[in-house]
Symmetry: C2
Subunit: 480 residues, 2 copies
Amino acid sequence: MKRYDQVAQALAQRIEQGQYRVGDRLPSVRAVCRELGVSVSTAQEAYRRLEEAGLAEARPRSGYYALPVARPETLPRVTRPAQRPLEVSQWDQVLELVAPSPEEDDRLMLGRGVPDLDAPSLRPLKRELATLHRRVGTYGLNYDSLQGSLALRRQVARLATASDCLLHPDDVLITTGCQEALSLALRTLTEPGDVVAVDSPSFYGTMQILKANRLKALEIPTDPRTGISLEALELALEQWPIKAIQLTPTCNNPLGYTMPEARKRELVALAQRFDVAIIEDDIYGDLAFTASRPRSVKSFDDEGRVLMCSSFSKTLMPGLRVGWMAPGRHRDQVLHMKYVSTGASATLPQLAVAEFVRHGHYERHLREMIRQYRRHRDIMLGWVDRYFPADTGVSYPQGGFLLWLELPGVDCVRLKDRLAEEGLHIAPGSLFSASGKYRHCLRLNYAAAMTPIIEAALECVGAIAATLRETRPDHAPTQA
Amino acid sequence: MKRYDQVAQALAQRIEQGQYRVGDRLPSVRAVCRELGVSVSTAQEAYRRLEEAGLAEARPRSGYYALPVARPETLPRVTRPAQRPLEVSQWDQVLELVAPSPEEDDRLMLGRGVPDLDAPSLRPLKRELATLHRRVGTYGLNYDSLQGSLALRRQVARLATASDCLLHPDDVLITTGCQEALSLALRTLTEPGDVVAVDSPSFYGTMQILKANRLKALEIPTDPRTGISLEALELALEQWPIKAIQLTPTCNNPLGYTMPEARKRELVALAQRFDVAIIEDDIYGDLAFTASRPRSVKSFDDEGRVLMCSSFSKTLMPGLRVGWMAPGRHRDQVLHMKYVSTGASATLPQLAVAEFVRHGHYERHLREMIRQYRRHRDIMLGWVDRYFPADTGVSYPQGGFLLWLELPGVDCVRLKDRLAEEGLHIAPGSLFSASGKYRHCLRLNYAAAMTPIIEAALECVGAIAATLRETRPDHAPTQA
């Protein structure tokens, strides 16, 4: 890690631990230099990072001031899923979520994993898409290399250094979205009937891959601040013939946590000890709110045992279907699986993304989006505080644009159906479990502009949720 | 079939059977009306069709004249593959074919399945791709409906009527190329270890799907004029627990035949009798040289037992990765498989193709390409006749842009390696068999402009092939 990143992290920790309160003046650049023994330019760069992360603001001729760090009162509980491998259900609910076209569907989608597509910093990508055809000639219309465009793989390898991941372009395989990457990884590693350990709640797309390939999900208890329980995972590895560990350790979907580095390192050691593969879904990783990009699990792996899966769907646009993976030592089998699944990925979108990244637009866009999503998180947390029942549990996302609510006593599948009548859509928590647990939870999206319409929608969701509460006084939502 | 199509077909048959020779004047419109009892406009429309099919030309103020129908002397033999289920090999050779990027690869690709991407009639599609971004707004950047854009599914359903296939847009699922369609179909219908009957030679992409999913291929003898042997298939269905029949019955890849309608009808009856599914790869079907589009196998299916797979990769551009399928009664399972494989397909390419088709550009483009590919076929057949050993067997494609050669005594894998030194690439026949048969065969592509460079390349292939002939006098190439 660069020196200024270390300084930024030290200051960020003090802010997040409450050492400086909102509006407090932070130590001057000179004071930082003295205290931490760094140069002026390092201290300045560190403050620039804090600003980018939305933790500090510069006031002209005055210095840096701490910004509000909203923090929910009640976090969701540590999950306690069933401790045995399960077949996955819930397809009907997922289908309801993914089947409609955004063109035909006029519901207000509060629950989908779609980023803000109106961001001005996406304009250069739209330009690339419009003009590329003329520049690249027939190459752009032909089958691309099976592994994906070299220009894009170079950029992916370059970007991966931000998470301390050292990849050669040949280690990278371009896929048709992260969903294909996850599917290839699971199909390469398993046979029907095999057991896969997953964090819980877990992305419904992965759960459905397990279902389609007749795999069993072993859902591991997960802490809403630190992620999958390594202790429970270790016990599970001793007890069951687990073929792969599948998880989203950075800016988790749906819980929003980032596993601390030490735990990521431990996870890799555990996988080594039990000789099991890790499938790391890193799709939201670039959207972390921390001063420096968190390390990936892959960055601790020196055996090629981690298959890292990602995409530009959450950082740029999902409709491009440009994903990628770093399959480690499974590269050859994954490449075969890729060939038989879809052949080469579409050519032009790859080239457009490669150009966009190459010109530095991607990093600029990330800075904008991180700032925006952080701000939106805090606004959304405020609305949840105002409009939802007092005992609502709420996640505190460390990145990305998804919020997880726990509504004791409320059946969120019923809530979803009730909200559909109002033209509103939420993702009920049961999507995120093999067996339909987390029915008392729901996922919200805060990517797009936080308009009065969204606020009114949140108020409506909160009010209807309150009317649906069961009267039973001692409900135990996450174990229902 | 329309009346004028019937008339066109009757005249086409006479020409193809040699009743009129090249340059012969064909019966006048008036004579056709008298003989066949049709109206003037019907006879005129019939001649327009013959012209489009490249079978006749109009000379001003003179009438219609028969055009040359080149016809090879020696067809390849009826194939006689092993009559037992086999595991599929040959991945290393396929990888060699599909791994390089067209940008990095400067070999002259004589063997790949790529259409002519420089055709002027593709220009409106390129325009659509460039301008669509501005018109459709964020919808084009977002996840599309899982089933695919309704605008495109409507057009696909409309086009399918040309092969007498009556589809509702809801019967159609957009895929990431035909490869995904074939993969979804096979994965939906089978479990590891199952047996799939295939025509032989058979498209290598499908064979590799069998390999990746641990399925066994049962290769059925195939006639280079009429396709898969129904007699051999019936015996196989009695003998083996076949889960699906996978074949390319129209403008076959690599043999170029179109199964006669009566045999397509029989095939469906056979599948009904043994209660087995048919996977129909129709990717080249729209490129048939006949006066009217051949019927698909699907068009004879009233039980939803045929899963029809196709794409715009061979008719428009492969780099778009826009394919589609009509999965019949397996729709729901296929839709789930689609979700877990890649999620929704990319949005903008679907919309661009939909617009291109909607404005009638697709049918215009097809007419141009059919004329071009038919002409190129005849030129290529002439070159093969001139530059290859006299006993070379050669297919007589009824559509598409691929030629299949049988070179007695020549190992075409060695030939491919030898040609690589000359910067030339052919697809050796062994790619098209589960067990590496057809080593004495090769596939050539005649899509792009038939330039002196291509002619020189053909001369080179023929000359080097001659030097590689084994001395053994009584070689039996297709059984090697």
